[in-house]
Symmetry: C4
Subunit: 213 residues, 4 copies
């Protein structure tokens, strides 16, 4: 049990640093994609930031794996950690834990259940949409017959994908862009569905309260 406790204490302590590292990862990735004509010095700087933060994720994951009592169980029960370590652009999916623990620590008055679900699912969807727009823009802008030429096109595509509108005026044509797109569709439809469901039940609750008042 000692080891389990040490693991939990570690996770609680490491999370704010990982959160900062994930912001650095996303920022450096965004800068490298959106500002392609960086000077060689800045290029190197942002590349180092990208890989350093990624390295941090990998090291931290391996360290926790070492700390754990039962390693196969660790890998199986924390599969989401493995995924977001391998693909750091998916890291927004882990925000919930940080956010929850932060709230516990500060003893804030808790938000209503629906508001918390909406905030978590909505924020995750937005961050994943932003990451997907970056990745797709990176792959598509120079592809032949591309319809995603500017980052604005990529954001427009990501928004129409997340909401399942799917206009089709800007869509990825490369294989990698489409793989990202399929991922965004499935994750997006689930997260946005959760936001809509929570909004719906929040609205119904508000109307019920006003009806009783």
């Amino acid at each position: 049990m000692d080891r389990q406790q040490r693991l939990q204490r570690w996770e609680r302590a490491a999370e704010p640093y990982l959160f900062v590292a994930s912001l650095l990862f996303l920022t450096s990735y965004a800068v490298r994609v959106l500002v392609p004509d960086l000077s060689p010095g800045w290029q190197a700087f942002w590349e180092i930031v990208t890989f350093a933060s990624w390295g941090l994720f990998v090291v931290e994951y391996l360290f926790r794996l070492l700390l754990s009592d039962d390693r196969r169980r660790f890998v199986r029960t924390r599969w989401l950690d493995l995924i977001v370590t391998a693909l750091p652009l998916l890291r927004p999916l882990r925000i919930v834990d940080l956010h929850e623990r932060m709230q516990h620590r500060r003893d804030h008055p808790r938000l209503a259940l629906e508001t918390r679900v909406m905030a978590y699912a909505g924020l995750t969807a937005l961050l994943l949409g932003f990451a997907a727009a970056l990745a797709v823009y990176h792959d598509e802008r120079t592809a032949p017959y591309t319809t995603i030429r500017t980052f604005g096109d990529a954001v427009w595509w990501a928004a129409s994908t997340l909401t399942t509108t799917g206009y089709g005026d800007a869509t990825p044509v490369t294989t990698r862009g489409r793989v990202v797109g399929v991922g965004l569709m499935f994750v997006g439809v689930a997260l946005v569905g959760a936001v809509v469901g929570s909004f719906s039940s929040w609205l119904v609750r508000r109307f019920r309260q006003e009806g009783e008042a």
Copy 2:
């Protein structure tokens, strides 16, 4: 407590006037967008109506801010008021309060919960869709490579966006048009989701009652 009560009394008294002002705002905006070759006199008239009603929203918001006990709390808890004051085309989002209070005053028999949610969310979605169609038509009709040439195209685009159908035969190409589009997608998916959910539970309830009868 005295100030709080004065604020509430004020809000109850001001709402019908604000509602009329928001109709005037939408009407004048619609006229200016849809009838581009107005005579200079009418043009000036409708511009004055637009800005006068907007000015009224701003003045009323500042007045309430002054009346409130705790101004920072006022801004934080009434963030929707701030948004609809800055962007009056989003004012339909505030209809719910008026509608609710009207019903209280007249002592009407209350509608069923689902019907009220459907009516509020559906009406809000329709008004926002109309406002978005106006704004997009205004920006897009003269843009190069536009696919939205008539107001009918804009309405068709707004309907296919609100229901997340998203044909893509008419879509905004300008940045401002796309910003409006992204807003409509996210607000629309939430409001239409609430309408569908309420319709669904209304249908289930009706079938259950008929089953018991």
Copy 3:
């Protein structure tokens, strides 16, 4: 009370005939749209069937209006009857009552609540989709720049609209076609949402039962 009872007895007796008439209306409309090169005799025959069934709906509605105690209340509470009388292609929306009463009469074992909602909403959606495909095909096939050239295109469009997929490879371009399209989008999104919700809760219930067994 006497009049109210006579009205109800009348409605119960008239419904099977109205149902047959609505099938005749839909059939004759379909034949006239899908077989454009009918011989003049058949053309006249199916036109008569169309207008005779429509006339029956109008006469029956007016007759019930006469029978009712309070005519304004009749119009207000039975607004759906007025709509399906004016636009007989929407008549599928009235199926529920017939279906319910038929089941009562025959003392059949009742279906589960979710199955009934799915059957009603699904069947209504399919019939409305068929009616919309007919109406859109009728208007679009000869329009300039049309993308709906065959009835297959129209059915494909209707299916992609009902499920809010909205590919956009076949979409109406005429005003009348688009009005039908907007109606199908909003009615479709609500009905299909009800089917999906009921299917979802049926699936959950089935899994729960198997879990307990």
Copy 4:
């Protein structure tokens, strides 16, 4: 009752074999569609596998029909079995029973209700999407004016259909492809709706538990 028991014992015993046969069917169909320039020997081999597994489904269905007490009731209550026997590409719809019985046998700790619904509906949707992509690719790749030229296009189309995104950049143009598409739309919208609903309620439950902890 003896016959009914024999039928049930048979079904329990036959299921693993049918599951293997359905995997063989899907594999052989996939190989024949995706590797069109097979040597005549392999071509014959995979054709035999396809038809042998299909034959097995038919024989097994007829055998169970013979075993049953009341054959008309068997056909009516097991309509899904009849459909998946006639169209073996829809066989994924039957997975649920196998999966459930497997879990019973092994006395595994049961997964949460939402997880089971998500796993079943999600897996079924993925398998049907794969089968539909195969069928559509088979029909479309050589059609005139096709937009589905590679299997990647077909998968991209299937994903955008299942999530009701519907970009429309790759859509079937042949009648058979569109029939498959309509089926995927309606089945997909229901299954993905069930996944989204279960994910939503799982998320709400998780947030509620963390709120109480």
